[in-house]
Point group: C2
Chain length 423, copies 2
């Protein structure tokens, strides 16, 4: 696993001055990767690195040759470190690259961001133990968690084609719902549309079919982290999910943040990963000293809602909930990689692994409305007098994430935002 | 829906004489699409049409310009009909194209076949009602089918990266299994490895996100049909599948036949689709006159096994089971397309929809060993004295499919074959 080095030095400043405010998600200690073009232009997507309120066009710097993010993501750990060091050095205040690289900058405000890579495979996990427990309680008060939960990193394959980048606007999904008071299902727009607060882990190097990735090697296959909103239609899901899992309830839209914050950038924000007393230790294939010592991620997460009425009145979004990844996730990202491939399954560059809904241990820290409103029974009041059990048409939901630690510069994951349109 | 036309004329003969035997899967009435290259050559894949024991290199004929099957698959119905008619005419005995096209032929025996297209999304359904009932009985004798089964075309997203073409050799998967007599799972190779006999439907034109495909339009989005073996590790599945469905139990390998038999070729082999008395009629969005009249497919399916011992002794494969699609499937391919997109989910050219395991109504017609051996309790005896509860290392499993009808030329789907290697 990566340890901190001089690219994390809190004293580092950039000649891109907007990066130095302390408030930017993208100080020189971050350097996340994304794909962009000039807003409204038909040009090919370019690979960029966010710095303050600018984007550095990476190919223009001469540091990389490929224009394909999925190829760039296959770099070895050593190559990743070298590239990060070179970008950091060139953006540093006083760098002799400043004159040349100034031409490689483009303001984020004049850029259109795309999905950071082509996502061939999308797998969603279920690592949020407080989420799994709260949701389980709604259906099975006596046994909220299934017997397999504490042994198996539960996951399922998701739909990659409907993943969109932050700013995605999608129609409320339709499908079959079974009302409690009839014996026949009806078809119509979902009335229990929810968000799910997740992290998305992006795979760098893949593995060959039949060659599992050991827990010792797993971090080398992780390129970085994004924010992920796994929109869910609870009423569709309740009727369809047995016995093969969620399908239409999830496949109508999934929204991803545009910037991949690398594992290198996150190195100072790793945390101990340990089991509570009474919980089983992970089976040997999911266990390593390094994973125990610093397998977890210390990332703060927030959920913000702006309704159509708030938008029309010029009112800003309100925060619905917040939590910390390290408290929410029962499995580490490395464990997800290893478990996914233990069967022999091949991961490919650009594949996306969702953490599953991340909820903190307290009631107000829930990563979904299903939990926050106790299945819709306790609607949330909003400051403008509106209330929400589930999402309404015109609602814009935004997830934010950032890392803060004593003595380190705050780094952000940016945000992922999406808007519900009428069916 | 396509109706029969002169390209189906049973009197048609080809100047490629191997197509005329009556025994070939690929008479001139079939004309399935695939991708090939010369065996062992590094050349790019080419688009071909199987005819007898030959492959017609389609771009060499001048009929198409693209070398990309996924692009070719986006043809409109009209373009598909026109291309089929032109290929049929050029391959017909007496055609003035014979001299020119003879150079565009390559023997199948000297060719390496690839997956017929890039498969971006793979969804597996559960349309085999006899399969669902038999498997359900093993776990829930009182209520074999879930209450949703007769209303919802149950499906889940599968793993596309591990799909291979016929001839795939894969290692027995490993994973967690929970023995009945302990309270802790163990990790190791699956001991209940099974095949699943399925059809694979390949999507031609896609749809935009948020724009469902109606049942009236669904057939236009179906390009054709393949054979699909959805290998399954029953012991991994039993422990992991709750509550989000199968994951490692399915994602280690899935094998597809190389030739896509088009909906046009299958036109003479469509069948009435109707509900048994007592079963609910499909909800309106899944219902149309055309779907009722000829939504089903009359395809005979067979499963063949050759063990390592049989192979070593020069003994050919034995048939384990057979059934007919029209008797096995509770939903039509058009209904799967419509249901998949009713949420707004976007299908893309080359996407693969699996039918789910197809079993006939009789015990010997089961599309999996799980059913044939009653969960492993009644092993099958083989002619050489071996027996099988589940698949053993070295077993080669082959699925075959073909259409036969009075007055029509038999057309085949070819075969899909795969071999289990030691973990």
């Amino acid at each position: 696993m990566t340890s901190t080095n001089e690219t994390h030095d809190p004293k580092l400043r950039s000649w891109v001055t907007s990066a130095n405010s302390g408030a930017s998600d993208f100080p020189i200690q971050n350097l996340p990767f994304g794909r962009f073009r000039r807003t409204g232009s038909p040009e090919d997507l370019r690979i960029g690195v966010a710095i303050g309120d600018q984007i550095l066009d990476l190919r223009s710097t001469g540091l990389i040759e490929t224009a394909d993010m999925n190829i760039l993501m296959t770099m070895s750990l050593k190559e990743r470190h070298r590239l990060r060091a070179a970008i950091s050095e060139g953006l540093r205040a006083g760098s002799d690259r400043q004159a040349a690289w100034a031409n490689a900058l483009q303001p984020q405000s004049q850029s259109e961001l795309a999905l950071p890579c082509r996502i061939g495979g999308y797998t969603d996990f279920y690592t949020g133990i407080h989420h799994a427990t709260s949701v389980g309680k709604l259906f099975r008060p006596d046994q909220p968690l299934m017997p397999n939960y504490k042994w198996v990193p539960i996951g399922y394959h998701g739909r990659a084609s409907s993943i969109g980048v932050s700013g995605q606007r999608f129609k409320r999904p339709q499908g079959q719902v079974k009302p409690l008071d009839t014996d026949k299902p009806v078809v119509g727009p979902s009335r229990r549309l929810d968000y799910e607060l997740e992290l998305g882990f992006i795979i760098g190097r893949g593995n060959a079919l039949g060659e599992p990735i050991t827990i010792a090697d797993a971090e080398e296959h992780l390129f970085g982290v994004t924010l992920l909103n796994d929109w869910s239609a609870r009423d569709l899901q309740a009727w369809e999910y047995q016995p093969l899992g969620p399908f239409l309830a999830k496949n109508f839209a999934t929204t991803l943040s545009p910037w991949v914050v690398t594992m290198e950038a996150l190195a100072p924000f790793r945390a101990k990963f340990d089991r509570s007393p009474g919980d089983p230790q992970p089976l040997p294939y999911l266990e390593s000293g390094a994973n125990r010592e610093r397998g977890a991620l210390d990332i703060a997460l927030e959920v913000w809602l702006q309704t159509a009425k708030m938008h029309a009145a010029g009112e800003t979004a309100v925060r619905l909930t917040h939590c910390n990844t390290a408290q929410a996730a029962y499995w580490t990202a490395a464990q997800l990689v290893t478990h996914h491939t233990v069967s022999g399954c091949n991961l490919q560059p650009g594949d996306l692994l969702g953490s599953g809904t991340l909820s903190g241990p307290a009631q107000g820290e829930a990563g979904s409305l299903l939990e926050l409103t106790l299945g819709g029974k306790q609607p949330i009041g909003l400051p403008n007098g509106e209330s929400r059990s589930y999402l309404e048409d015109g609602d814009t939901l935004t997830l934010r994430g950032y890392c803060e630690r004593q003595g380190m510069v705050r780094i952000g994951l940016g945000e992922v935002s999406g808007t519900v349109l009428a069916a």
